[in-house]
């Protein structure tokens, strides 16, 4: 049996066992082929699923970063607008993240002449309009202190 499996010459020499040996050999090859086919199919499916997952997770990551940028701009806008609405004597502390989604650097700038806040990251920009242009100081990542002193909004 073993010989027949490993030597095709012996198959030809031992005529009557040849047929049986051939069948065993054919089944094993079939199994091998099937396994190979399954493995290829599964690998292909895994590759497709992995590719789709990576692609989607990249798009989710980009969207999360965009959301974080918009959130940072809006937090600042809402703080400034609240300071304007409450009036003289208002003081509050607020915090901005060091990075967008713990990974991306960004800058946040107030342009009083356009009465708006800009957040810039990765060659992208997002802006939010403000209730006042009467603002001094600059926004930084981390803790910021905002005050309303006689209508002038100060950020430290």
């Amino acid at each position: 049996m073993k010989k027949i499996i490993f030597s095709s010459k012996e198959i030809r020499l031992k005529g009557e066992r040849t047929n049986r040996s051939y069948r065993v050999c054919s089944s094993k090859a079939q199994v091998s082929l099937e396994i190979m086919t399954y493995i290829i199919i599964l690998t292909l499916m895994l590759a497709i699923v992995t590719f789709a997952a990576i692609n989607r997770s990249n798009s989710i990551l980009t969207e999360k970063i965009n959301m974080d940028a918009r959130r940072a701009a809006k937090i600042t806008a809402i703080e400034i607008n609240t300071a304007v609405s409450v009036g003289d004597g208002y003081r509050n502390e607020f915090s901005l993240p060091q990075y967008l989604y713990n990974a991306k650097n960004y800058t946040i700038t107030i342009l009083p002449e356009y009465q708006r806040i800009y957040v810039d990251w990765d060659n992208r920009s997002y802006s939010v309009p403000l209730l006042t242009s009467n603002i001094t100081g600059s926004i930084k990542q981390g803790i910021n202190i905002i005050k309303n002193e006689h209508g002038l909004i100060k950020i430290e």
């Binding site: 089944s27 079939q30 396994i35 969207e63 356009y114 009465q115 309009p129 209730l131 006042t132 242009s133």
Partner: protein, 364 residues
């Protein structure tokens, strides 16, 4: 052989189960992600809406008297909560993308509309819906209000059967009866338009007209002023072939001051005596500028706009009075799945304050 079959069967089943699970999980994953994303977007829209609506109704914009060509920041207010009609019209005439960009909402579609407290569309003109229109024989004002978006009822005191156009209802009788019928329903209207009535005070229930005005109604009166010449807080005199000159520019007469106005047949003009309310002479009699051929004054909480003759020309063009104006809305009406809406009560300044709701929708 049996081993091969067992292995093959196992694999087939396992692959089938794997594919089935994958087929079930992928849409579920997609669904969960869509839900999470739309929730995030909804929250983002709501915060954007709050910020943007605040900026629009609380700030004057930059520069203070901005126009579409020089705007750096859009604000619609004269002061907090009081919208400036000119700025609203400037916004309407700006490009959609430019507005979204300046408001920081370029990710979303935007729709803004101004509605009065009864839900009628607010317009830039002085006439508010619903309106009543009375005429006898001359009907030049009818073509101005017809098909303008104004909701109006038609009271006709002349002979024959006139074209009802897009009026909501039509009532025809003798001129005094038609007029009194209109006055009896005056509490249904915000504006009454009277064109050359040829009526005397004694023929009609004049107190109902006064009551309508005291409660905040708007009267637009054209032509023969006999009916209101003495007892409506101002005085009128009859003349002939009056010529006019623009003496005040506002949202009703938007012509340049100093322009000559030629009328087809302007007889009547109003003037102010010591005890009268303040007369705003928008177009004065060219020969005696103490007379207004087009002007307005307040009566109670209401206002009277008087036009001696609606057929006037300025520099060869028809005199355009802002009676109906245009519908105050901007942007694209929502037809997306995710939308966020806010409604903010404000005053609309059209030389008088009118309570309206600013409805703003962000959608995707």
């Amino acid at each position: 052989m049996s081993k091969a079959q067992i292995v093959s069967g196992d694999f087939t089943i396992s692959v089938a189960i794997f594919i089935a699970i994958l087929v079930m999980v992928l849409p579920l994953w997609n669904y969960v992600e869509t839900q999470v994303r739309s929730n995030e977007e909804r929250m983002d829209m709501e915060s954007s809406l709050m910020i943007v609506s605040d900026v629009l109704i609380k700030t004057q914009g930059l520069p203070e008297n901005w126009s579409a060509s020089n705007v750096r920041s859009i604000g619609l207010a004269d002061e907090e909560g009081i919208l400036n009609t000119t700025k609203v019209l400037n916004l309407i005439n700006m490009s959609y993308d430019n507005v979204r960009d300046l408001l920081g909402i370029k990710n979303y579609e935007l729709y803004i509309s101004l509605k009065d407290i009864d839900g009628y569309d607010a317009i830039s003109g002085v006439c508010n819906s619903p309106a009543a229109y009375f005429s006898v024989n001359e009907e030049e004002m009818k073509n101005i209000i017809a098909n303008s978006g104004i909701t109006w009822d038609y009271y006709y005191g002349g002979s024959g059967t006139p074209d009802e156009l897009d009026s909501r209802s039509f009532y025809s009788a003798s001129k005094a009866d038609a007029f009194n019928s209109m006055l009896s329903k005056s509490n249904m209207y915000k504006t009454i338009i009277i064109e050359n009535p040829e009526l005397q005070e004694s023929e009609v229930s004049i107190d109902e007209l006064k009551s309508f005005l005291r409660l905040g109604g708007i009267l637009i009166f054209e032509g023969n002023a006999t009916l209101i010449k003495d007892s409506f807080g101002m005085h009128a005199a009859q003349g002939s072939n009056r010529e006019g000159i623009v003496t005040e520019k506002n949202s009703f007469v938007m012509e340049e001051i100093g322009k000559d106005v030629i009328f087809a047949d302007a007889e009547w003009a109003f003037y102010q005596l010591a005890d009268d309310s303040t007369l705003h002479k928008l177009i004065s009699d060219k020969n005696d500028n103490s007379y207004a051929v087009v002007g307005y004054w307040d009566y109670g909480f209401g206002r009277i706009y008087y036009i001696s003759d609606i057929s006037g020309t300025i520099d060869g063009n028809s005199m355009a009075l802002n009676i109906v104006g245009e519908k105050l809305e901007f942007g694209v009406q929502a037809n997306g799945n995710i939308a966020s809406k806010t409604q903010r009560p404000v005053l609309l300044s059209k030389e008088r304050n009118m309570v309206i709701n600013m409805v703003m929708v962000l959608w995707k």
